[in-house]
């Protein structure tokens, strides 16, 4: 075991995979610099700088994957995925179905997501629910370095398209753009166990669709992903002081979704609190309720989500994103119902 940052863990897993399989190429805006370690080791043929042309390079990656390569494409922020959406929605996600399973698209799209650093509503969205809505896509949202690396190994091995979302409060390279250590007065609420952590010496695959129970409790099941996991764990500690015992379930991937573990846990606790940094309507939080209802389980339900366009103003932003206070209050309220 060794300790790596979230971003280093992904890079390390990717490097391991790239050295074992020549078909893996990395492409995206600025990757020669952002992924300078991979670039310097694997060279210009394996790490390709692209122009700001998401529609073209994501679209090209889809067909390159169909023709035998295993592209790992970077869309700098998930908010920027709009210009590449046709390639994802109508092509990457459809080819396997259109060919009745004969032709697959082994593509990984890496993208930074999430808020909490004051960049405003066009740069801090999560959008995983929006993406997971589309059949044919796998959506992965890791919350720790060990998961980030293990899930990256799985994403590369996966036969279909995977969207791999890296929360900016966990991926330190992004916070470095906010001035790094030259701007000491700026503090971000970075979950320490998410940004740094123990990782294996040799990466193995963590299967997609397998959730992780981060904390076990009997009164309430808090289901979440990404930074939400850490906010929920903090809330669970506060709830414990009030005598409320929580299970915190890290879903790790939205598609495929680990329905079995979710249902089993809610069946035991009788309460589900969905904590989702993505928008509330028509998303992950509602989907979790539907899945448990469809399993015939009766339970009480609440959710803490992002309710509106994320405000630029830091104080308002912190209120809009799911925080430990909102989670604690929602859980306590659910207990009293």
């Amino acid at each position: 075991m060794k300790t790596l940052s979230f971003a280093q863990a992904i890079e390390s897993a990717l490097a391991q995979a790239m050295s074992a399989d020549d078909r893996i190429i990395v492409m995206g805006e600025d990757v020669e610099l952002i992924r300078v370690n991979l670039f310097s080791r694997f060279g210009t043929k394996r790490v390709l700088n692209t122009p700001v042309s998401e529609g073209a390079f994501v679209g090209a990656a889809v067909a390159a994957a169909m023709a035998g390569l295993k592209p790992v494409v970077e869309v700098m922020l998930v908010d920027f995925i709009g210009t590449a959406m046709d390639a994802i929605l109508n092509h990457a996600a459809k080819v396997e179905a259109f060919t009745n399973g004969r032709w697959k698209v082994p593509l990984v799209i890496r993208s930074a997501c999430g808020g909490g650093y004051g960049d405003g509503g066009q740069h801090e969205q999560s959008l995983w629910g929006w993406l997971a809505h589309i059949p044919g896509l796998a959506i992965v949202v890791p919350s720790t370095p060990a998961d980030a690396g293990g899930l990256m190994v799985s994403a590369i091995q996966h036969e279909g398209p995977v969207i791999f979302l890296e929360h900016k409060l966990l991926a330190d390279y992004w916070l470095d753009y906010m001035g790094g250590n030259n701007r000491e007065s700026v503090q971000f609420d970075v979950p320490p166990d998410g940004a740094y952590g123990a990782v294996p010496d040799q990466w193995g695959a963590i299967p997609l669709g397998q959730s992780a129970i981060r904390r076990k409790g009997k009164d309430i099941t808090i289901a979440t992903v990404g930074v939400g996991v850490h906010r929920s764990l903090e809330a669970a500690t506060m709830l414990q002081k009030k005598g409320i015992s929580s299970t915190v379930l890290d879903l790790r991937s939205l598609a495929p979704l680990d329905k079995a573990t979710l249902c089993k846990s809610v069946e035991k606790t009788g309460r589900l609190l969905a904590v989702d940094e993505d928008y509330r309507p028509y998303g992950l939080s509602g989907e979790l309720a539907a899945v448990v209802l469809e399993a015939g389980i009766s339970f009480q339900y609440a959710r803490v989500c992002t309710e509106e366009t994320i405000p630029y103003c830091r104080a308002r932003e912190d209120d809009v994103l799911p925080n430990k206070t909102r989670i604690t209050e929602a859980a306590a309220k659910l207990m009293n119902e």
Binding site: E29, V36, G43, P51, E54, Y117
Partner: protein, 348 residues
Amino acid sequence: MEPDVWQLYRSMLKSRFFEEAVIELWNQGKISGEMHLGIGEEAIAAGVVALVQEGDALALDHRGTPPLIMRGIDPVQLLLELLGHPDGLCGGMGGHMHLFSKEHLVGSSGIVGASCPAGVGFALAHRYLRPGKIAIAFFGEGAMNQGMVMESFNLASVWKLPVIFICKDNRWAITTSSTSVTSGALVERARSFGIPAEEIDGVDVAAVWNTTKPAIDGARGGKGPAFFHMHCVRPEGHFLGDPLIRIARHPVKGMKPLAGPLLKSVTKMKGTSLKGRSESLREVVTSIGTTMKNQRHKKQDPLKRAREKLVSEKAKLQKMEEDVRNEIQKAVRTALQIARQKTKDASV
């Protein structure tokens, strides 16, 4: 007609002082998030915005501060927005990449290239609602590789819309050298859509004014769109916190966190050949070297260039500079005072 160089210089100076104040506030952590400045492209903004009339529209990119200041947006309101204050230009909701002023018909976007379809749409509305008015779209040369930019050129041309496309070429698409990812000549792209196009020195504010004036007048008169490829510099990098700038300014401190992992990675067993690896390293070093060289190009400062022509009237020049400095300093003091007041109210 000749441009009023005094007025143009004043306009650029106001923007520069404002953005210098922004740097300080950002460094102090009072402004959050990323920060993209328009330092280095003031001549382009000033030359074009000086030709803007009431009723014209501006579609801006992520470097919207200079055109907004030059268009006459209240600097206090703008600063309050950057401070995330409810009295800011957008109520603290937008921030520097998402600045809007409905009354001035100014919109901005942090999505690369998005100002081009916006410019086309503003111009389309003008045709129905404000004949004789124009729209101006500002964007970087990095945006020239976005499909929506090419699509906008075509639409503007076939519909003969009064939109002026201003491509500000600072040679870098984020932290990638633009020429390494861009084919052909940009003016040729526009011309192939039937749009008249010119390439000019965007550091020379009088040249910007002189070259764009006939096109803007023409667009008002129904002659359709025009495209300008203007060269400039970006001494502050893509954004404050740009790793290339940090390394260029403080090579030892800047390289320190990079060097260890880089050395470790480049010496790992599996990977490309030694030749391939040194080729990669050479590219990284070239990027850093070019950034360092750009830092020394003081002649490329549009303000210095404009000032040279005015320096013969020293007293008048110094008075103007002093006035503008005081104006911005006063705006900063006022904005900070309002922001502090709010914090005090909140803590009571």
